[in-house]
């Protein structure tokens, strides 16, 4: 059947655990707010919608990151792809803003993909280098200042406004999610992605154009980061330096917490979705509980390690 569902138990366990953990977070937070303020704001639709809206940016980045992780690569250029897309979109402005922003993502993805697939530089290093280069170019482009022009109305509308009470950003996230699910489960591209992540050489011998698929994956990841950047600029009404920095590690964490194997080849998109929600909620509840920053760091680290411990057991060298 589908690549993702061939072994329910194994791929579903992390998702289930993460889902349970989300409930634990909500319950703990609610118990806390109830004890302290006598109210349960965490369970209100308004709060949850707002969390999801914030989660949309991370969710879109994570969707792209997941695709790259599935082929056993990584894209560390996400922070400045995101920022560059936002900066170029706002500085171009007008109806071309969004296409130009997304174009930046495609371009960076192409460079990454060619570097990794054709020049065979390890992605961890190559994308790190690309990130540094992008950062330099953007600092040069903006002259050290944040670009002076703001987000277009369309960008603001997509990221900040609501339709029927639901944040538009959520619709964008949903569209991206549907696209990713279709790619992974219903298109040969998805099959190739899993195949390459499993065993690149075997996929090559099976007639898969592994290099082209690798490039496509990086382009998709760059595109996702760029889309997140454009939206984030819309949400904040401006682009600014360092706007992508807060998305790299959480996106990797979300993918991994969602049960995708960091070594590629295994993972379901639903898991990534749940991983994103988990991370956003965890952050928010810790902040509501007025957990000191120190404790937050510790808890954040421990949660990730703990989740992986629970998933990781039983994988042996000689499997």
């Amino acid at each position: 059947m589908t690549a993702a569902s061939f072994s329910l138990s194994r791929d579903d366990r992390p998702i289930l655990i993460a889902a349970v953990f989300i409930v634990v977070i909500l319950v703990a937070g609610t118990v806390y707010t109830f004890a302290r303020f006598g109210s349960a704001p965490l369970l209100s639709p308004a709060y949850l919608l707002q969390q999801l809206q914030i989660g949309a940016f991370l969710g879109i980045v994570s969707a792209g990151m997941m695709i790259v992780i599935l082929i056993a690569q990584i894209d560390l250029s996400v922070p400045w792809t995101l920022a560059a897309a936002a900066m170029m979109a706002t500085s171009v402005g007008g109806p071309l803003a969004i296409p130009v922003g997304l174009g930046v993502g495609v371009l960076v993805g192409l460079v990454n993909g060619v570097g990794v697939a054709y020049l065979r530089v390890p992605s961890m290093i190559f994308t790190l280098g690309v990130n540094a280069v992008m950062r330099g170019l953007m600092v040069a482009h903006t002259g050290g200042y944040a670009p002076q022009t703001g987000a277009t109305d369309l960008m603001r509308m997509l990221a900040g406004d609501r339709t029927l009470g639901i944040p538009n950003a959520l619709f964008v996230w949903a569209a991206v999610s549907v696209l990713v699910v279709v790619i992974l489960q219903r298109m040969s591209l998805g099959r190739y992605i899993y195949a390459i992540g499993n065993k690149e050489a075997a996929a090559y011998l099976a007639g898969v154009n592994t290099r082209r698929v690798t490039v496509v994956c990086f382009v998709l990841c760059g595109l996702a980061a760029a889309l997140a950047g454009v939206l984030l600029a819309g949400y904040s009404t401006k682009a600014y330096q360092g706007m992508g920095d807060a998305y790299l590690l959480p996106s990797i964490a979300a993918v991994v917490i969602g049960g995708t194997n960091i070594l590629g080849g295994r993972g379901r998109y639903l898991g990534t979705l749940i991983g994103v929600v988990l991370i956003v909620l965890l952050n928010s509840v810790l902040s509501i509980m007025e957990m000191p920053e120190a404790g937050r760091q510790v808890i954040y680290g421990l949660v990730i390690i703990f989740m992986l411990l629970v998933y990781g057991r039983g994988e042996r060298v000689t499997s």
């Binding site: 944040a146 949400y235 009404t237 600014y240 952050n283 007025e290 920053e293 120190a294």
Partner: protein, 352 residues
């Protein structure tokens, strides 16, 4: 939201308008005591930790304490969306004022509109916003650069020579403004200084490294202007056995100790500072606004400066104390005057 009114504002010695063009705001008067929140962003460095402690110490001081019903501190990290979310949360909870260091100079329009709708006073300080719709508190970074240049010129008594400029974090507006102010004066007509510029990232180790590099290549400087990480710059001078020269740097306690120790050997140092105690002024401004006073839209805080001539142990530096402490904490006109022990008795944790 606030009405735009004409000045002068309340307590002009403390709440000094940025310039003659600065607008004045007035909010509807609210009865105290107030619920105030501090929404910090990043918290990974000493300055921020000290800032949080200072905020708590201030909220605890007699004269302020009475006006505050609840004081909450939250640090949201470097994600703008998270910071906006936290602020929205406080507005919805019915807080009266929010004091904040913005993660980014933009993106707060929506929150400001929301705050105005609910008559919540939002006071960004330190990293201010690119907008004039909100009351803000800051020190004039350009002025720090200008002061530093004047100091170097006056102390060396020369109009030419080699100057080392150690810059801060690239791409940051504070770094940019201090740099521009410095260049404005040092390169003004009549001067012919040769300036070598290196990037120290406001970090002791990096400043030390790049200064050492510059010394190795250029051999000698007649004056040094350094941003954060000043003690590293001095370290590098000493390691290279470079004679002490006039110097201007940040407000780190360690740097002030170095000046005090080596002033007699020629380290004619000046120490300016972006004080973590800005938070106290911002809080005070919020209270004042809530009380219905007329307030300047952009408040300029006098820059706390100490030089080798007026350093006094236990007053503006603490020889026995932690090297990473930021010494300048006095704004006498505002009645804000912390000693190190007062600040350090606070925890940096988010409040309960």
């Amino acid at each position: 939201g606030p009405k735009v009114v004409s000045g002068p504002g309340a307590d002009p010695a403390c709440f000094k308008p940025w310039s003659s063009e600065t607008k004045f705001f007035q909010w509807p008067k609210k009865a105290g005591p107030y619920r105030i929140a501090l929404v910090n962003g990043f918290v990974g460095n000493t300055w921020r930790i000290q800032m949080v402690k200072t905020a708590k110490a201030f909220a605890d001081q007699p004269g302020i304490k009475e006006n505050i019903k609840e004081f909450k501190v939250v640090s949201t990290g470097t994600d703008v969306a998270a910071q906006l979310g936290a602020m929205e949360d406080f507005i919805n909870q019915g807080f009266d004022a929010i004091v904040t260091i913005a993660v980014a100079p933009d993106g707060f329009d929506r929150i400001i509109r929301l705050a105005d709708k609910n008559n919540v006073v939002v006071v960004p300080f330190d990293n201010v916003l690119d907008t004039d719709k909100v009351m803000m508190v800051n020190e004039d970074q350009k002025e720090m650069g200008r002061m530093s240049a004047k100091w170097l010129i006056d102390e060396s008594g020369k109009k030419s020579g080699d100057i080392l400029e150690v810059r801060g974090l690239p791409g940051n507006s504070v770094d940019r403004d201090r740099h521009l102010g410095f260049r404005e004066v040092i390169e003004s007509p009549g001067n012919s200084f040769k300036i070598t510029e290196v990037v120290g990232n406001w970090d002791t180790g990096t400043s030390q490294k790049v200064t050492a590099d510059a010394l190795a290549v250029h051999g000698h400087f007649d004056g040094v202007f350094t941003q954060g990480g000043s003690d590293g710059t001095v370290q590098a001078l000493m390691a290279a056995k470079h004679p002490f020269v006039p110097m201007s740097g940040e407000g780190e306690n360690e740097y002030r100790k170095q000046i005090a120790d080596h002033a007699k050997d020629g380290l004619k140092g000046m120490s300016y500072g972006q004080s973590p105690a800005l938070v106290a002024i911002a809080t005070k401004a919020a209270i004042s606004a809530l009380q219905g006073n007329i307030m300047p839209q952009l408040i300029s805080i006098p820059i706390p400066v100490a030089t080798y001539k007026d350093l006094k142990p236990g007053t503006n530096y603490w020889p026995e104390l932690n090297a990473n402490f930021f010494a300048p904490n006095q704004f006498t006109p505002c009645g804000v005057n912390f000693t190190a022990p007062e600040i350090m008795s606070q925890s940096e944790k988010n409040t309960q």
